[in-house]
Each structure stands twice: as C-alpha cells, then as structure tokens.
Symmetry: C2
Subunit: 484 residues, 2 copies
C-alpha cells in the first residue's frame, strides 16, 4: 500500500475520533435502524464512512485531475488514449487492488473538423453551429432555404419524397420550453429533444433535404450549440450533414422567418467518418476479503464529447465512483465482497463500451451483485431508487436509513435499472440502486464547450460520493441476494 | 404621421381610459406631489405617459429589430453601415420630426480576423480566446511560456526590461471574485478588470513579453472570452498581440501552473489594424412646440462589439431611449421643448462619436438642457441620481415622486454626469439624470458572442423606458434651468 495512503489512513483515524463525537446526534436519530437487519457495528462503520466521505474532497480532486491533465476525450482520439492511461494510473494511486482494461472495438471513427455557418439573407449573421457526432461533412459550402419544423413529429409528418429538395430542414423544438405533463417519465423533455438529434438526418433525407439543423437540445440560453448523437446513418438513405445551432441563434432564425421572407442559410463542415478505432473500458477493483469473486459495481463513462473537458459529463461520475470505492478501500479492512469501478468507453456514441463488457461477462453476470451509475452530473442526490428483489427490499430500506440524514428521500418505485451504461446490465437482470440528483443546470452545459471543471459544486460532489460509498459499502458487507 | 402610428394612438387613447381608472390608487399616493411646482395637469399627463409606457413593448421591439435586421455593428464594418441606415429608418417610422446623421471620422480601422489558441504542454487543451479590440495579429503561430500575474499591479511591479522575453504574460485577475470595499465606486470591479485590458499590452511589452492574455473581464463562468478595449498602442512601444481567454480556461491554466510545470501556450491571431474609416452619429428629434431649439437629450450608442448582436450593449439603450422619445411623441401634443435621441458612433473604441459630437456642438452646449444615457443593459431601474443645480434640485425631487411608484428610489448624491458617451457632455457642464439599474447579469454577457436578444427581459425594458419617458417628458415641459 503506498505510503501516501497509509498517512491518509492515519490522519483519518484521528478524524474519526472527532466524527464519533460530533455525530452523536445523528447516531441517536439512527436508532430507528433495525439492528437485527444491519448489525450495529456495521451500521456504525457505515456512518463513519459516510461522515468521512462528506469531509473528503477526493471526488472533486479526481474531476480536477481528469479535466486538467486530460480534458476532452472522445473515443478514439488522443485525449481518449490519455484518459485510459490516466484512469489506470489514478486507480493505482488510490490503492485499488486490481486494475485492468478491456479493449472496445468501434466500427468506425470520426473527425470533427471545422464547422461554420451564416445567414446569407435577408439579414447576414454569423451563426454558432456544431456538427452532430458522426455527421458527414458538407463538401464545401452548402446553402439552402430554411424550412422550419416545430418538432420531430412535424418533420416526420411530411410525406417522403422530394418536397424538401434544395432546403435545409430546421427543427426548432426547444427542450427549455418543455413543460412535463402527468405521466411523463423523467427526462421526457430531453427525450423529445433528442428525437431529431438521433433520427432527423434520416427522416429529412427521405424528404429530399440537403441538410438538417436542429435547435440544440439543452436548457440554457448560451450561444453554444450542443453536440451529441453519433452512429446514425442508414445504409440505404442518402447521408446528409446534421448539425445543431445555439438557442439564441435558433430564436434569431425564428424571428426572421416570422417576417415572411425566405431565410437562406449557408454551412460548411469538414467532418468525416473514418476507419475503425479502438477504445477501452478501464476497471479498478477493491478486492473483497472473504468473497472477492462476487462484486458490487459502480459505473461511469470515461469518454466525453470533444468540445468541453467533460467535467459534468461524465467527469462527475468518474470522480464520485472512483472516490466512493477508494474511500471504502481506505477503511481498516477490505469489505467482504469486491467493489469494482467500471469506467466505460464510448458511451457517448451509443453505449458501445458497456455492450462489449456485457458480451464479455455474459457468463458471470450473476457475480454482479448490485450496480449503479452516475451520468447526470455532480448535483446533490435527493432520492434513492432501488431496483431489487422483494426479499432484499426491507434490507435496502434499512440501508437507506443510514443515508437519510443526508436529506435523501426514499422512492417506492423499485424500478431502477442503473443509469446510462449500467442500464444494459440492469435490464439483463443485475440488481441496481440509483440516486436521483439535482440536475437543474445539467442540460445547460451538457455536450458543449462549457462543460468544464468550474461547473462542479464541491459540496454536492462530496454528498453524492458519501451516499454511494455508504450504500455500496453496506451492500458489499451484507450477505444478501439483491436479485429480483 | 404614418397611419400605423395614428392607429396606435387611437388604441392607446382607449387604453388610457382604463389606465385612468386602474391607477386611481397610485394617483392618490401621488397627492404628495407639490402641484405648485408641477402643475396638476402636467403631473397627470406624466402619469398617463408612464402607465402607457409600462404597457407598450416598443422598446423591446426596437431591440429585436436592431439585433435581427442588423446584428453585430462594430464601427466601420458593413454591420455598422446597416445600423446607420436602420436607425434613420426607424426614427422615421416612429414619427420623429427630424432625423439626421453626423459623420464621425475614425483614424484607423481594424479587422478581427481569426483567433485560436491551445496549451501545448504539459497537457494539450484547446483554449477559447478572442483578440482584444485593435490588437495586432501574431504573424503566424506565437508560442511562449505563461508568466502569470495576479493583477495589473503585479505586472506593473516587474521592472521594465527584458525579464518577460520569450514569455506570454497572463493577467489572471477575476472580476467575478471582486468584493467591493467601503469607498469603492460603482463599477470598481470592472474598473480594476479593465486596467490590464486597456494598458496591459503596453506594460507587458515594456518588460519584454511576446504577447499578453488576460482572464476575460466578466462575471460569468461561460467559456467565452470577452473582447473590449481598442486603440491602445503607444508609438514608441513594441506592439504585441493582446487577447482575452474565457474564465474556465483561465482557471484551467491556473490549475496547471499550480502543478509547478511550465505551461506552454500557442496562439494565432490574424487581426490587423487597417486604414481610416468613417462612422456616424444618428440623431432623431421630436421637435418642441414652443421652444424647439432647446432640447433634452437621451443617449445610447449605436455601435457594438462584433461577436454578439449587441442586445444588451447597447441595443437596450437604443431601444429604451428611442421608445421613450417616441412615446412622448405619440402624446396629444408635442412637448414644449425638443427631445433629441443621440445614437453615438464608435463608443466601444473610446467614445469617439460623442467626442466628435461635442466638438461640433461646442457653441450650442447650453441648448442641451438635460441629458441621460443607457449603456448598462436593459435591467430594471432602481435609483434615480440627478446631476443638476441647487435651484433645480427641489423640482427634480418632485419629478421623482411621479416615478417613485415604479419602485425607484432617490439618491441624494446629485453627482450624475450621464453614463458612457453622455458623460463627455455632462463633464462639460450639461445637467444630467441617470437611473441605476439592476445589472447583475450585465457583465455575464458583455462583449461576448452571448450578447443576444434573448437576454433582454421585456418587463424590465418597459419599466426602464417608462422611467426615462416620464422624467424627460416633465423636463421638456417645465421651464426650469437645470444647470449647476
């Protein structure tokens, strides 16, 4: 064990004495925990871990390290290669017992190139535009009259054919204006926004359009275009360029169109699809002292889009999950079962890393006792949602009581499958836990150049880390079958 | 008078009947007005004008028109020429009695060109950078080690000579972190921030630096660089490139420097200073019915920086001042004395338009009875500051009572000289009024690509317009000498 870690443990033991005194009140509140379900020594150790995590800035320091020393890391780029090396080194520095990578082949790569756009008439303007992931380029300047569609459904409602010939389809739907209705799922506004981002270029091409631009899928009013998607063409449909424009520029174009004059748009993108590339999932393990071949898994994705430094997406996930496991690893003894942190490759272009992981681990899926992922920023957790069997449910409710003092509510839904990557494993049967987080500003920065370290709120990250550390420490210690 | 305006007046008269009823309570509060000083019919008309302005979106519509139909308009550019034509047409459309321009020669022009930057080592990153106004270019790639200075004073403290040879000076001062101390003037944080923006390239060059970059002068956390300054070289000092970087990138560089390794920065700017150009002040007048050769003046600047569409800087000033005068012009009769709206050229590069105006109007400065300018965005006005003679002060205090119902306080300072351009006339003796406004987000957007129409808050703009319309209507009707 590195000397730094030993020194840290010594310092922490001193701290724990203080915490024991200062948390007396909290422990008193926690006498509602049923010690027949969670033995008192285990519950007390979990509380100490939680309080220690609340005081430890490690999760934030990890995000700072990743965003400063690596930055943008789209799969297959030099940044991605640096990220893979960084993650292995960081796991080792943090005292993980095993660290390894698993190669992830990706069928083709992509070069972003340059992107520029302007309104030619009736009023010349510079427009902020970004290529959507894996879009083809424009092959020089591409001009056309804007044909506006209020949303993806309106574009789809146009009969297939050539009615958009010579035109640039513009889907002006604003996620910022989305008002959830009863029955809407979480993320419904994002889901509606991403329809055109994911499929607009195919649908527009089938109607003859020369290109498609969409209002960025985001909640901000900044003059950034939000990139996203990837891997979206169909073999038998003409490949047209796809790009997002910034919210202020979308409003500008709508205000021009309201004047009743044709709006002529010119764009130039040198993006291009390239040969196959390789990424890698990076895995770190705190090995269990009694049953190392069964493990709880904490997930995040290591790749990011390429214009920001990927602090909230998904540096926050990398930082909180690495730190949660590292803090468990810094306790006096290893947990009974292993804790694995899975940092997935190529999430942004369609969960490619986790799918590869799933294929490779089909035979040992049952060894994944419980999983979770953070891929919604570093905001404060407010609600715990379980996704476990009926037998395990009363135990998880008791476990929740040990994080309730963090202001985290309990949801009865019991439908968690693990967010993002982890949902692939969750849907295949792996039990899951997840915290709903404050994500008010997440889609302000998401997939933009503005996703940078300064957007991380340290106190929130520490709280998030403490919540995961506590729950997964308990899960790794208790001999429970979480399966449905 | 155009038919549109006539129709609008008819509609407004109908509205006024309603307002008369709905404002009964407000009028009752206003019985504190001393009708010996402001005759009751005049006070009542001022209240009607105020209430009408609060319901009229004209100021917002003007900003929308300017930012949509013109957009960016740095002096000497095609956008500026379009703005000059737009302003004249808009004055006429709004029923102004006289509209004219006054040419403003500018000694040299500037081409922004392209700007890009990156950190080469220890960790490669793309950096968001913008040339400061009137900077020279880099003549190809320019690389150097970053030498950080906490603020302008720290840079100035380096003895002149060659100690910064081969280096790029980086002034990391953050306006966002400025905490006002007792005795600080308004705008002190901005003032401190602009020291390096205005003079850093001269001071750095005298110490041997190859270039200077500054943390943007702004209060936001967006990944935009704020441009500004202009016209800043000294003849006998080497001209080095000057640029601003975004706040997140400034933090990134500081975090790298903290690691103790040299940070190598590479920049490329193709900006260049060009031949002399011409701008124009555009002036619209609502001519007085009794004494047209004396006038109150409402100022704003028509030019903008070139990366946004100049909505808050200074579309908000153009919109509120044009609308305030137009609303006065839509009353049943012309005011006694004239109302002039002065839209100045070339404010952004050093108040050049107003200086030309001053030179041309030296002999009739006394005909400028009272002046004001809006150049701090479209935020809600909260405090009125006068800058008038002792004799006029009791009258202005009575006038203030008619806008106090808008939630506008009175300041005893009586030191207003008119903001921005107008301060040139104010310091030469012209009496002035100004409203302090809510400007919390002004320096978030200021001089960035993000200064766009969506940042205008319509209700605030209407309130601002109502305040100026009411005060300057009263001033134009009353036979008061406002002079100190």
């Amino acid at each position: 064990m590195p000397r730094l870690i030993l020194a840290k443990i010594a310092a922490t033991l001193a701290l724990l004495a203080t915490v024991l005194i200062s948390t007396t009140t909290v422990l008193a509140d926690e006498t509602t925990v049923n010690y027949d379900i969670i033995p008192r020594p285990l519950a007390d150790t979990a509380v100490l871990l939680r309080e220690r995590a609340l005081l430890d800035n490690l999760s934030v320091d990890i995000v700072e390290s990743l965003t400063t020393e690596v930055g943008a890391r789209r799969v297959g780029t030099d940044g991605d290669k640096r990220a893979i090396a960084w993650a292995q080194a960081k796991f080792r520095e943090l005292g993980f017992d095993r660290v390894w990578t698993e190669e992830v082949p990706v069928e083709y790569g992509w070069k972003r190139g340059d992107a520029s756009a302007e309104i030619v008439s009736p009023y010349p303007h510079h427009i902020v535009l970004t290529a959507l992931g894996y879009s083809v380029g424009t092959g020089g300047d591409l001009s056309g009259e804007i044909a506006e569609f209020a949303d993806f459904e309106a574009l789809e409602a146009v009969p297939e054919g050539n009615s958009l010939k010579g035109k640039i389809a513009f889907v002006s739907y604003s996620m910022a204006d989305f008002v959830p209705q009863p029955g809407d799922t979480r993320m419904a506004g994002y889901g509606k926004g991403t329809q055109a981002r994911s499929r607009g270029h195919v649908v527009a091409a089938k109607r003859g359009a020369e290109a498609i631009i969409i209002r960025s899928v985001g909640t901000d009013n900044n003059r950034y275009a939000h990139t996203g998607s990837g891997y979206g063409y169909e073999d038998d449909v003409r490949k047209i360029p796809a790009a997002a424009i910034s919210p202020p520029d979308a409003i500008l174009i709508q205000n021009m169109l309201r004047r009743g004059k044709p709006v002529i748009f010119k764009m130039n993108m040198t993006s291009q699809i390239t040969a196959a590339i390789k990424g890698a999932n990076v895995i770190g393990e705190i090995s269990g002292r009694l049953d190392p071949d069964n493990y709880v898994v904490l997930g995040a994705h290591l790749d990011s889009w390429d214009e920001g430094t990927g602090a909230i997406d998904d540096g926050a996930g990398v930082g909180s999950m690495m730190a949660a496991a590292a803090l468990i690893g810094q306790m006096e003894q290893r947990p009974k079962r292993s804790i694995r942190v899975l940092l997935f490759a190529a999430e942004e272009i369609g969960l490619i890393g986790v799918r590869e992981y799933y294929r490779a681990n089909l035979n040992n899926l049952d060894q994944h006792l419980l999983g979770a992922e953070v891929d919604g920023g570093g905001g404060r957790p407010h609600t715990l949602i379980s996704g476990v069997g009926e037998n395990a449910l009363p135990v998880v409710r008791e476990m929740h009581k040990l994080i309730a003092p963090l202001g985290i509510a309990w949801s009865d839904a019991n439908d968690a499958t693990g967010a993002s990557d982890m949902s692939v494993l969750g849907r295949a049967g792996m039990p899951a836990l997840n915290f709903m987080q404050n994500s008010n500003d997440y889609f302000d920065y998401h997939h933009t150049p503005n996703d940078t370290f300064d957007k991380i709120i340290p106190a929130d990250m520490r709280q998030l880390t403490a919540a995961y550390a506590t729950m997964f420490y308990l899960a790794s210690e208790m001999e429970i079958d979480f399966r449905k």
